[in-house]
Amino acid sequence: MQKQLPFTKSLVAVADQAYFFQSFFRNIFKKGFEWDELFRQSYIIGYKSIGITTLTGFILGIVMTLQSLPTLKEFGAASYIPSMVSVSIIREIGPVIIALICAGKIASSIGAELSSMNVTEQIDAMKVSGANPIQFLVVTRILACAVMIPLLTIFADAMALVGGYIAAAMNGGITMTLYFHKALTILDYTDVVPAFIKTILFGISIGFIGCFKGFTYNNGTASVGLAANSAVVTSSIWIIIIDGIVVQLTNSILYT
């Protein structure tokens, strides 16, 4: 067999991913949607990630406030802390950091689980029994990520504002009412809507990459680790790329 050039290999990999995405998309609308499995995956992906995202959001809010406060004080702009924390967390830092955390936790676990199912012939067993593994395993996981990651981000953003308030209150004596009034009135739909859309895209990419790697890596037990590792690395890169594209699009639509 002729050896494939790296460029050809990359094209084949892109074609494989496009084909996998197409079969995911086609299977969303097929009869026999797996509602029970969707709810089970939403519970695993969403509920079981609340702890880590809450803690991350809370500490992010504290750290942002503590890091910005000395500089803002120098310019006599300490009163801008709530607005600054709120806008930066909700527009950019919250969605990206939570998505990267979820890439580490969720994409790796989906990649490892599906790859081990592949290695132990469980996916083949589904196929030969006449069931549809894409519908049962892939559609449910990607949709659960697309729904739960935005919700986790909203929750983490809220916790970041709480963290920011606690840090500001301890260092400057701001009241809770004033802090949240300033933090929330500065926001408008141009801050919230693009960020929310971005989190849905992050969710889809995390679920998709996890499932794709799980289905692709099937050569023995070593591939389980490789699938998990590759799922984290690839989905993290996609999160950064999607972020860049969405920010550029948002800016060109809203601010030109």
């Binding site: 132990t120 469980q122 083949d124 029994s129 006449g130 069931a131």
Partner: protein, 242 residues
């Protein structure tokens, strides 16, 4: 008697390596066919082609008269509902209990919604394989022999007309291997299923086979009853039975 599997000049390669080099096989309804061969001789590839998990490069493969490679996705799915496959590792869904493993094909393949009927079908197959007490256990709680039995129960629950066994006794002790082989024979009689059994376990072959084929380097080199091949004039053929 009706022919259920018909293979003509089947070839399959992976890259440069030819695995099946033109095999021919006809299996009639109700027959138990055993394929013996060394590791890497193409046994598993043959039954994976029959189940439509792999597509041949050349040749014809008909199951119930339908050419597998020409079937569309939905047609292949419908055909697979008539075929059962027992994997070497049993391939139990390890995130589900024994009950859920059994319910999975019932709800999705046979579209059965009646809970009482589902429960009775589960109990029936578990009793057939002697695992009625394990219904609420997880696959990780089952021993190797129990996992094989459970895999067999999941295969049987959809009442397949053809059962493909991929090394059903590999990794089991002699006594359990014999129990599984006898169970396969009982099941074939009870459910009137056609079986293709891939193995290199000679006692399993002697218990279950109506006809034995020996595959070597991607081609069938001998065919006959277990006794005929065991007493063959050819030293190489006889060496499989020692």
């Amino acid at each position: 008697m009706e022919v259920v599997i018909e293979i003509k000049n089947l070839k399959k390669s992976f890259g440069d390596i030819g695995i099946l080099k033109g095999i021919n096989l006809t299996v009639k309804k109700g027959e138990n066919v055993v394929i013996l061969g060394k590791s890497g001789s193409g046994k598993s590839v043959t039954i994976k082609c029959i189940a439509g998990l792999l597509t041949q490069d050349e040749g014809s493969l008909k199951v119930f008269g339908e050419e597998i490679k020409d079937l569309k996705e939905d047609e292949l799915k419908a055909l697979r509902c008539r075929i059962g496959f027992l994997f070497q590792s049993a391939a139990l869904y390890d995130s589900m209990t024994v009950r859920d493993n059994l319910i999975f094909p019932l709800k999705r393949v046979l579209k059965i919604k009646d809970n009482a009927l589902i429960e009775s079908r589960c109990i029936e197959v578990l009793e057939a394989v002697g695992l009625a007490d394990a219904i609420d256990k997880m696959p990780s709680d089952l021993s190797g022999g129990m996992r094989k039995r459970m895999g067999l129960a999941r295969t049987l629950i959809v009442k397949p007309e053809i059962i493909l066994y991929d090394e059903p006794t590999t990794g089991l002790d002699t006594i359990t291997s014999k129990e599984i082989s006898n169970l396969m024979l009982q099941i074939q009689k009870k459910y009137q299923a056609t079986s293709v059994i891939i193995t290199h376990d000679i006692p399993c072959s002697s218990i279950t086979a109506d006809r034995v084929l020996i595959i070597d380097d991607g081609v069938f080199i001998a065919e006959g009853t277990h006794e005929e091949l065991e007493n063959s004039q050819d030293d190489y053929i006889r060496s499989f039975f020692k």
